[in-house]
Amino acid sequence: MLGVGILKGLAETARNFLGSYVSKDRLTTFQFPEERAPRIEASRNFPFLVYDGADWHEGMRCVSCLICEKECPPKCIFIEKSTDKKPDATGKPQFYPTTFSIDVSVCMSCQICVEVCPFNAIKMDVDFEQSTSDRFGDLLWNKERLAKSNEYYREIHPTEAAAVDAELAEARAKAAGAKVAAVPPPAQPASGGAAER
């Protein structure tokens, strides 16, 4: 009969209306700045550069291979390669970026830079409260601002970081083994040159 469904619908909304005053667990929203939803481990927004150890410049894993810069769909990464070398995460002498900038107003958080990085140097951050009133100075993030420690990475993405740590430990053990086999270190730079082209 016409009207029965209408009355049922009205009863349902009335139940919701009154119920929201009686039981708190009906209210599904979080009152944001005061209370926060627990963060999902796989959440991401902008990339950051991982470094090992205490000094961000010395421990930076990035070897300035420029793959992320080339792969970035909106072209928000800008890298300048060094002329000298410093040891990378596995102790091999490698180039390092003298400039590494990400324009976060352009970045679309696609994670492609992370997927293509062969050195586990760039990862996705979870800090989303980045609003600023300085649109020219504060949205182009330099190397220093992007550098974050491996401890921080372990804290925000524990599962992923454990896998990366295991991979790196294996690579370090291999490099140490190779060093024992007395291969002189300067024989390596050919790989860095290939990536540059």
Partner: protein, 392 residues
């Protein structure tokens, strides 16, 4: 002070203030003193309604609703007002500048004019026209003109679509709106809103003589409210706005304060039609029981008005938007026959002797066609489980 003095306090203070006005200026002074309170009270009610509506809809959807500006978000309308006043007022380059400017003003003007014949309390009406109801429907149809002016002058396909929908909808629903209120004119024998309320403001024992408490009055009230919802373009009849399909319909090209004026006009229209529903069926300013007459009449009017507004919000939070053909089908296939039958029933009621027999006959005369109509309308529709070829 006696209850009568409190009830008549606004009428008495108006008379007292008029005593200080020169005799030659008395008519205009009287008009100003009657009009200004309406111009103040109803926009204030609009401000309160916006926040109550948002909070009510929030609760219906298990949210809190606005709760940031002031305690429990009660200053939200002030923040909204400041926002809409300080926003840039953009007029499209290709728009018809004059008509584009006049449309929101005409809408608000038409909405305000309707209040001229609404008795909001005992002896509290701006003008007691002897064709008050006719005046109300006449100015009510000015809204259609304003809406079409807005849609046409904006020079946008969305606004024109919205205006087309609005005009089609409002003209269609004006027919059942007027026909539903004809039963009251038949019963009271008057077009004056004041006389209609005075007829209902009498009691048998403790029970009032509201037209709602008759079979034709109840059916008329329901039909009137459905038509009033469609007339004021509110959900589920908000096709002219249709935020999800034609963005905002006829006021898509309006911003800033003109947009706020459209909102004001819509809500004022809603209050006016609710006020008319109260006047026609719910006894106007009359108390629901004879022992409650000591409460001032204007308080009863606003209590009833707030109840009807709550019903509007409840309906908005419950029903999804109708499709255009469903909207027209409801108007012409269901509302129109039902209102015509309701007029016939009111006639039967008038000529039958008082007693239980006319109750039974009139109830049957309304319920039976209603059931037949709802069955008949359903049979022609093939209701089936929808199958999807590509999305499952």
């Amino acid at each position: 002070m006696t209850p009568e003095t409190i009830d008549q306090i606004f009428v008495l203070s108006k008379g007292w203030l008029l005593g200080y006005v020169l005799a030659a200026l008395q008519p205009i002074g009287s008009a100003i003193l009657s009009v200004v309170p309406v111009l103040v009270v109803f926009p204030l009610l609009f401000a309160i309604t916006t926040v109550l509506e948002r909070k009510g809809l929030g609760r219906i959807q298990n949210r809190y609703g606005p709760n940031r500006v002031g305690p429990y978000g009660i200053w939200q309308p002030i923040a909204d007002g400041i926002k809409s006043l300080t926003k840039e007022d953009i007029v499209p380059r290709t728009a018809d500048q004059v008509v584009h400017f006049l449309a929101p003003l005409l809408l608000v003007l038409a909405a305000f004019l309707a209040y001229a014949v609404l008795p909001i309390g005992k002896n509290m009406v701006i003008t007691n026209l002897n064709a008050g109801l006719l005046f109300f429907f006449a100015v009510g149809s000015m809204v259609e003109l304003a809406v079409f002016m807005a849609g046409w002058s904006s020079r946008s396909k969305y606004s024109l679509l919205g205006a087309m929908r609005a005009v089609a909808q409002m003209i269609s629903y004006e027919v059942p709106l007027v026909l539903a209120s004809i039963v009251v004119i038949m019963a009271s024998g008057s077009l004056s809103t004041v006389d209609i309320v005075n007829m209902q403001a009498t009691y048998t024992g403790i029970w009032p003589h509201w037209f709602l408490f008759t079979p034709w009055g109840f059916a008329g009230f329901i039909l009137f409210m459905i038509a009033a919802t469609a007339e004021s373009n509110r959900a589920p009849f908000d096709l002219p706005e249709g935020e999800s399909e034609i963005i905002a319909g006829y006021y898509i090209e309006y911003s800033g304060f003109k947009f706020a004026l459209f909102f004001l006009g819509e809500y004022l229209g809603m209050f006016a039609t609710s006020g008319l529903a109260i006047t026609l069926f719910l006894g106007g300013w009359a108390a629901p029981f004879s022992f409650l007459t000591w409460i001032p009449s204007y308080l009863w009017f606003f209590l009833k008005l707030l109840t009807l507004i709550a019903a509007f919000i409840w309906a908005r939070g419950t029903f999804p938007r109708l499709r255009m053909d469903q909207l027209m089908g409801l108007a012409w296939k269901f509302m129109l026959p039902m209102t015509l039958l309701n007029i016939f029933t009111a006639g039967v009621w008038h000529f039958m002797p008082t007693g239980i027999s006319r109750w039974l006959v009139c109830t049957f005369l309304i319920v039976a066609p209603w059931m037949l109509l709802s069955r008949g309308l359903k049979q022609r529709k093939k209701l089936q489980v929808r199958t999807y070829r590509f999305a499952e």
